[in-house]
Amino acid sequence: MSIVAKETIEVIAQSIGINNLSDDAALSLAPDVEYRMREIMQEAIKCMRHSRRTTLTTDDVDGALSLRNVEPVYGFASGGPLQFKRAVGHRDLFYIDDKDVDLKDVIEAPLPKAPLDTGVVCHWLAIEGVQPAIPENAPVEVIAAPSNGKTYEQKDELPVDIKLPVKHVLSRELQLYFDKITELTVRKSDSALFKEALVSLATDSGLHQLVPYFTYFIANEVSHGLNDYSLLFALMRVVWSLLQNPHIHIEPYLHQLMPSVVTCLVSKKLGNRIADNHWELRDFTAKLVASICKRFGHVYNTLQTRLTKTLLNALLDPKRALTQHYGAIQGLAALGPNVVRLLILPNLEPYLRLLEPELVLEKQKNGMKRYEAWRVYGALLHAAGQGIYDRLKIFPPLPSPPGHANWKSREKVVTAVPNKRKASMEPLEHEPALKKIVTDGPIGLVSTTSSPSPMQGETVAPLSSGDFDSEQPSSSEKMPNDERSGNGIGKDGQTLKMSAILNQIWEDDLNSGRTLVTLLELFGESILSFIPAPEMSLFL
């Protein structure tokens, strides 16, 4: 019942020569021993407090004993920590290790160094309430020697306001929330709960305190988890949700977030499995980047320039992997048609020259690489198309027909010849060739549309209009179908769709001899899909 066991009392009794202590006596002594011990401790704590200390020492216990007129316990004032040792063969018997010291050793031992004498040094803790940045004050490591310290302090009198790191107290709830969200992000990013979490992140107020933690978390996880596709995607979704949240003031943390986001866009490798659809992640991230630029571009005017510079560098460096190029193109494309026109289109031709060998089967045997090249190609097409569409929009009344007709006509002119020539070729070889032509089209187009004379386009238009009209009906039975799907998926899915369409073309080529016509239609189709229905209707 008391913390002092009966056995302890018996042991103590034996140690002072009472061998036959009765059980009753031991039992009734035990609680009293405990009480006395508590009493001593209470007094010892008083002694400790009056010695202005917060750790109890053996001196305090001796002081307490003398307060109670009890003989102090000698031999423990040495200051060294006492070592309890377990008695061999007994599980719960301990003793204090008390070494035998040979008197000779003690006598012969050299005198210990005299302890340094107590001294007092003086410094300014504060000057008119401001702490000077001198070594004697808190933030610096070592106290200087007294004399040096003083001279130093006298000379260096510049009062510097030292701001202490503010201890930021996060409420228990927020901590739990943060832990839960991070756990979901890392472990169960495909669960329905994670979706809920994203909604919560995007809408809940009062999460602002957590933003630095999330920023740190995202940066940390991205840098460590480049091999984990689902984690990266989840992280980007979290960023997206945080950006959506109207209650969060995220600007101060953008500079920490951006590197992680851009990493997810242009990193060489995202995810380590082939099944990981890192294209999708890049597309998503591109959208994310674009939305960040759109929202904060006016606050940080260097944001977009720095971003585009980074992306352009990634794009124009031929040593970079194709995946990086893809990300860069997507990122630039997402930043808007102006960026595309100013940065991608001028570089399109040299870039395509680089890309071309990768697209062709003979030159690039690695299927994976070729696939990547096609993806890049698709992205380029998409970006170019977007840029052009924007251009077309400039002339609302007459915009599409002339531009489009212009394009069409040129397209036809350019494509017709090679296709006829290659009609008998192997389909596999066919495909790259076609692709090249398609891209040639936009290049040519750029030269005309981006030139400052829209008049030229208009003048061309009437000439080709007949051509255009004559072609249109022939493809009309196929058009609606593809068109609908193209528009339905939208920008994001466009590239995916594109490859599907291209595959389809290719099959069509195999099946029918209408290669030429179909190709033409499909090129038109692929670009047309960027043009919304009303304008499209002009053609149909």
Binding site: E39, R49, R52, D117, V120, A126, K150, T151
Partner: protein
């Protein structure tokens, strides 16, 4: 009447339980028949008899069961009344425990105690620690705390409805054990109307036996907290008034300018007010000899006559003090003091206390090896001492440094005590030092002669604290023997013995007018004593742990006390109430001091910080009106962390330079 019913149901329950059907019937008949039942209260024998019988064998279970039922009922009660009912739980708990111990069910008492102690850990952990050790009837007798608890009743303020609820519950469940405890040890003060707010229950924190009533009674006594007549400050004001008018106005203008520029930077709107005030001041100055504007505090405080014969001050000393007062820096929440800090090095854990003289030139340290060492800062480091003395920085004089290894000690060693020195204090003029030690003596040392002059013997146990009065000559001591004593330098016997604390008196402090002395104790109370009569005139209850430091405001109206947990409380002396607790320190508050005009409070703690608190907002009424912020909150102005140096003592010089001292401890 309620008690009557309680007793009746008590008896009925007992009879029923024991199966005395006939007796029960009889009792019922009796109750029904007699409109005026037997008066149990006037017949203690009978009550005792019944009480005795009710203590059956399954006593223990009834306590445990009854308490746990009461507890769950309380926790489940209405939110509005819950906190009031919760207050009842703690006294019921400790008394149930002590009852069990008293009846010899030691094992059961321990289980009971451990089962429910968690509930009260937060509020009463220290009391619980004490009670935990109570393991037999004799301990109950022996332990002061337990005995005082047993002998007294706890007062609990409770609203009518909560009271009814409680009674209903007790009657319905017929938990006689609980009813017994509550009747025996709790005195309900039923108030009509709404339950009191939670914050208003300072009294419930400290259960000090009979204190409650006595404290209330004591706190009714009149005290004259005003300052002494004809004090130096007053003389200074007079002197100021005697200055030629032109000089005066010039000075005023300068001050006004400073004021204006300051205020302009803060707020444009205040400017008008300040100039107006200035004009008004001038007008007053022109007509009569009046206070300088910054001497507001002293002039507002009432004057009292000294009850002690005060020592006569030499004229030259008076002149130097007057000079200091004239050059005093005016401190406020926007003008913080400079802090000069003395760090003790290589103390080997031996420094128990430190003290700084009023001009900061002398620093004393009391050591656990019985020595008292005094450093003369002026001699030690010429630059430090002189600069601090003048209150300005003199960088040229650094070549006079006497190296600490120059063969001579850098300090004066005072030997004489035969136990750890727990406290040291300088006389106001710095020519004497008093030290108190574990050897139960107080010694008077002369800093001029470097010798021990007197040894004062009177305490029977270690003397924890000694303090010179503000005028010198008299001093007060506090000891483990639970008394505080007043002495004068010329007598070896104490003049007064103040007894009343229930535990060690840990610290002592003089009131500014020397008519009162405040003592802080391990019983968690602070008491104010009349020096002349030796009577306790105030009891301040509210701290939750041992009081370690005390400070009196210079205007005599307020007192600050710091405890082991780091809480500082500001008390209004006249009402005996706590104005507000100042939270911020995380460890023992070793020292407290007010700035000379009472606008700032500085606190030094074991958490290695000096904190400056703004106390003007609440202490100066006229200022309140000027300031738009919430007036009753005292706030922390600044935290000055030291480098792993717990702050042992703080002292404002007469010119309002703050001196601090502490020991560099590497293990912090």
């Amino acid at each position: 009447m309620e008690n009557m019913q309680a007793v009746n149901s008590f008896v009925a329950a007992y009879l029923k339980k024991k199966g005395f059907k006939e007796a029960e019937q009889l009792l019922e008949d009796l109750q029904n028949k007699e409109s005026a039942p037997i008066d149990f209260h006037n017949d203690p024998e009978l009550a005792k008899f019944i009480h005795h019988f009710s203590q059956s064998e399954d006593d223990v279970a009834r306590y445990q069961y009854g308490y746990s039922k009461l507890r769950s009922w309380t926790y489940g009660s209405l939110d509005l009344y819950k906190h009031e009912l919760l207050r009842v739980l703690y006294p019921v708990f400790i008394h149930s425990f002590m009852d069990l111990v008293a009846k010899g069910h030691l094992q059961e008492a321990r289980t009971f105690f451990n089962a429910f102690r968690e509930d009260h850990e937060l509020m009463h952990s220290r009391d619980l620690q004490k009670l935990e050790g109570v393991l037999s009837q004799s301990h109950l007798e022996e332990m002061e705390f337990a005995r005082s608890l047993r002998q007294s009743k706890v007062n609990i303020k409770i609203c009518q409805y909560s009271y009814d609820l409680l009674l209903q519950y007790l009657h319905k469940t017929q938990s006689t054990a609980m009813l017994g405890v509550i009747n025996e040890h709790i005195n309900f003060q039923v108030s009509s109307g709404q339950p009191t707010s939670i914050s208003d229950d300072a009294e419930v924190v400290t259960l000090i036996g009979s204190c409650q009533d006595a404290a209330n009674q004591i706190n009714q006594k009149e005290i004259h907290w005003g300052l002494l007549e004809d004090s130096l400050e007053e003389r200074l004001e007079k002197a100021g008034g005697l200055l030629s008018d032109s000089e005066k106005t010039e000075g005023e203008n300068k001050e006004g300018d400073v004021d204006e520029t300051k205020k302009r930077s803060v707020e444009g709107g205040k400017q008008g007010a300040s100039t107006k005030k200035l004009k008004k001041d001038k007008a007053i100055n022109a007509t009569a000899k009046s206070a300088r504007p910054e001497a507001n505090t002293t002039s507002t405080a009432p004057r009292v006559k000294p009850e002690l014969t005060l020592p006569i001050m030499p004229t030259e000393v008076e002149q130097s003090i007057l000079e200091d007062l004239r050059n005093r820096v005016h401190l406020s929440s926007v003008a913080l003091p400079s802090v000069s800090f003395y760090t003790f090095l290589n103390t080997h854990n031996g420094l128990n206390c430190s003290s700084i003289s009023h001009d900061g030139s002398l620093v004393a340290g009391g050591f656990s090896d019985s020595s008292l060492k005094v450093w003369d800062m002026a001699k030690l480091g010429q630059q430090a001492g002189s600069s601090t003395l003048q209150g300005e920085i003199d960088s040229a004089s650094s070549e006079h440094v006497v190296g600490p290894n120059g063969g001579k000690r850098s300090y004066t060693l005072f030997k004489g005590h035969s136990g750890p020195v727990y406290s040291a204090t300088f006389s106001p003029l710095g020519d004497f030092i008093l030290s108190s030690a574990a050897d139960t003596t107080i010694r008077l040392w002369s800093t001029k002669l470097n010798a021990n002059l007197v040894c004062y013997k009177g305490h029977n146990y270690p003397v924890w604290d000694v303090q010179f009065s503000p005028v010198g000559h008299y001093f007060a001591s506090a000891s483990h023997d639970r008394t505080a004593r007043i002495w004068s330098m010329d007598r070896i016997q104490p003049l007064r013995i103040m007894a009343g604390h229930l535990s060690d008196v840990d610290c002592v402090q003089w009131h500014a007018n020397c008519n009162y002395v405040a003592t802080g104790s391990s019983d968690k109370t602070v008491r104010l004593w009349d020096v002349q009569s030796g009577e306790c005139v105030r009891i301040f209850i509210g701290h939750r742990s041992m009081i370690l430091s005390l400070a009196m405001s210079p205007d005599g109206r307020y007192m600050a006390s710091g405890d082991e947990d780091g809480t500082i409380m500001m008390w209004d002396l006249s009402s005996g109430r706590c104005i507000t607790p100042l939270m911020g320190h995380t460890s023992c508050v070793w020292t407290l001091t007010f700035s000379c005009e009472g606008s700032l409070l500085a606190s030094g703690s074991a958490d290695c910080t000096v904190k400056l608190w703004d106390v003007t907002t609440s202490t100066k009424v006229p200022r309140n009106e000027e300031k738009s912020g919430n007036p009753n909150r005292l706030r922390s102005l600044k935290t000055l962390p030291t480098k792993s140096t717990p702050v042992y003592s703080l002292q404002f010089s007469r010119r309002n330079l703050l001196f601090g001292a502490g020991v560099l401890s590497k293990n912090m």
